[in-house]
């Protein structure tokens, strides 16, 4: 009887401890909003996906890679201004600090879709998979939008 009680106490303690130490995986903590893929002219080999990523957890997360179902490759890229020129470069990772929102937006960070495997039509959904440092993955649907569509949304808000 006594040994059962002891075991149960240990079990409860262990459960409590693990719950308090528990931190969500990146895929659970990071919420993607307003995701879209830019519509591009026919025959254009590349496009880009934009979205805002909010880390709702209490630990920092890191986005390290992405995939899509419409391109051979997806890479994390950024733009910077250097010597009067717009420079586009791959980045190794995108930090997502706890409680903060990081915007992937035109002229800045984006997921570059390289080697489109088919023509993208405005309105259709593209599947983007975010891959985090902890190995967790989150898939989301991002509609294809023309620049005009994204501009009109800005005006309406």
């Amino acid at each position: 009887m006594r040994s059962i009680l002891t075991k149960m106490t240990f079990a409860c303690a262990a459960l409590f401890l693990s719950a308090s130490l528990y931190a969500g995986t990146s895929a659970e903590d990071v919420q993607a909003e307003g995701a879209y893929v830019r519509a591009v002219p026919p025959g254009q080999p590349n496009s880009a996906a934009f979205m805002s990523l909010t880390n709702k957890g209490e630990t920092d997360h890191v986005l390290v890679a992405a995939e899509s179902n419409v391109s051979k490759v997806a890479e994390l890229h950024t733009h910077s201004m250097e010597g009067g020129m717009m420079k586009m470069r791959p980045v190794e990772k995108i930090d997502l600090p706890a409680g903060e929102t990081v915007k992937l937006q035109p002229g800045g960070l984006h997921i570059m879709l390289i080697g489109l495997t088919r023509q993208l039509s405005p309105g259709e959904d593209v599947e983007i998979t975010l891959i985090f440092e902890d190995g967790s993955r989150a898939s989301l649907q991002a509609p294809v939008k023309t620049v005009q569509q994204t501009m009109e949304e800005h005006h309406h808000h």
Binding site: R38, G83, G84
Partner: protein, 207 residues
């Protein structure tokens, strides 16, 4: 990788040549062409002849029209489409009469990948009256230098892009007499471009 070297050399030599022709001053001892581009007097614009899908096109062909010139490349996934879309909205905001007196030129600084035919399909997507131009690397370099547009092949590692082209993202407004009037920053709102076009069109009517 080795096959880029001749092209890079040609680009560098033509940049130096252009600098010697246009940017060199006797009181400037600084031999750095990149620096000279920045320090030289503001670009003055000027005529150039390049190639469209339909054949050679000169800036001089558009006297009497307001011309907007943008230097970019079609592999550019974000900056160029955004700018060309904004230019298209600017065109859409004009009356049909005004629009007839405006020409948008998209000049590719990536002639290796952007053939005139490819450019023509690309520009048509944004607006039927945007004309895509390119040429031999030295011709493009010469036109770019006239307007102060700068670009270079970016050395990018770990990318499936092949190479990126770093480029300035200004839109240059040339008046009805062929003179460079002003340049717009990347993603200048269409309203401002429309206002500038209108003021040039009116100025052109009342000499």
């Amino acid at each position: 990788m080795n096959r880029w070297i001749p092209l890079t050399l040609v680009l560098m030599l033509s940049a130096v040549l252009v600098w010697m022709l246009f940017g060199w001053k006797s009181d400037t001892e600084d031999a750095d062409p990149y620096k000279a581009l920045q320090l030289a007097q503001p670009p003055r614009g000027g005529d150039f002849t390049l190639t469209s899908a339909a054949g050679p096109v000169s800036l001089a062909d558009f006297r009497g029209k307001v011309v907007l010139i943008y230097f970019g490349y079609t592999w550019c996934p974000d900056i160029c489409p955004l700018n060309l879309s904004y230019l298209r909205y600017a065109l859409d905001g004009l009356t049909a009469q005004e629009r007839e007196r405006v020409q948008v030129l998209f000049i590719s600084v990536d002639p290796e990948r952007d053939t005139p035919q490819r450019l023509s399909r690309y520009t048509a997507y944004f607006a039927p009256d945007i004309l895509g131009l390119t040429g031999m690397p030295e011709e493009v370099a010469k036109a770019a230098a006239l307007y102060g547009a700068v670009y270079r092949r970016g050395e990018v590692e770990n990318t499936a892009m092949g190479y990126a082209v770093d480029h300035s993202a200004y839109t240059y407004l040339v008046d009805t007499s062929g003179a460079l009037q002003q340049s717009f920053d990347h993603a200048t709102p269409p309203d401002r471009i429309i206002a500038a076009i209108r003021s040039q069109l009116t100025a052109g009517e009342t000499p």
